[in-house]
Symmetry: C2
Subunit: 170 residues, 2 copies
């Protein structure tokens, strides 16, 4: 067992020994979802004030709304979510490369079979060159999507990894 796996087991032992929330039900109690980045420097529960059971939390590279659409539709159509809080952040890795760069790195590191797989999947890494603009575009994408009804409120925010502060953009 790896050190990381041992850490999961130890944390779980501690967490479950004082756990008192086994009664919570499947749909989020406060009917909202937070979409943010996978970045290691973000703790959504603390930074954005999410109590256990209150909200879906979707995380992917860059907090991409396009990438999250499957999960968002499930959240609002099957589990009652009525509001989306989208949070990108300063210092995001998605600001630092292009699709061409990523395809080149995969080919160099993993070889031609991996490269062929990327091409077959037509994988778009969805990087973005400017942060605030990317927040606005993702909010617009959700507001204009036929799969997100107008009754769902969407807001866009930026979390600063340097200060721990979250500010609304749109």
């Amino acid at each position: 067992m790896s050190a990381i796996q041992k850490n999961v087991e130890a944390a779980s032992e501690a967490y479950s020994s004082t756990f008192t929330k086994g009664h919570l039900v499947l749909p989020p109690a406060k009917k909202y979802l937070v979409l943010t980045c996978m970045d290691a420097r973000i703790d959504p529960a603390s930074a954005f004030g999410i109590e256990l059971g209150d909200a879906h939390v979707i995380r992917n590279a860059g907090a991409s709304a396009v990438d999250a659409l499957r999960s968002i539709v499930i959240s609002e159509q099957l589990l009652g979510t009525q509001e989306i809080v989208l949070v990108k952040h300063t210092g995001c890795g998605m600001l630092t490369f292009t699709n061409e760069d990523a395809y080149g790195i995969v080919e160099k590191n993993l070889g031609s079979e991996a490269s062929a797989e990327l091409n077959k999947l037509k994988l778009d890494f969805l990087p973005f060159p400017e942060l605030e603009q990317a927040v606005k575009e993702d909010v617009k994408f959700l507001q204009e999507s036929k799969l997100v009804p107008d009754s769902v409120t969407v807001s866009g925010w930026i979390y600063a990894v340097e200060t721990g502060k979250t500010k609304r953009v749109v």
Copy 2:
């Protein structure tokens, strides 16, 4: 401003006022990623023992490895991740419907334009009928993917929302 937006602002004010982790860098310090479900009843940091800055956290409906592939490739190829901890959970919404059900619900709730959009995107909601089998299949998918090198360790786990306990499956 909605009550949920006000809550984000209040939480951010409190969190940033005692924030001391502004020095953390982009790549995850412990070089691993946790992939888990968006379910509101999961707090990955506490339940799985993730310290701020240590690991990428990817979350989507059902903790789908297929859906997370873009983020996983970015994490291991661009940001140095060498281990994947995949955690699905008991009581998951993905056990409760089929793609056909979801397409029917979208058409009924949102109408023919939304339905046409789903068909155009060929959106696969990636539900699964059996939990432990789904963990095993997702781990196998990652182990066999050309985009995840053999040097990356992959383990699969189940979190019990009733007890707060995480157990390894594979």
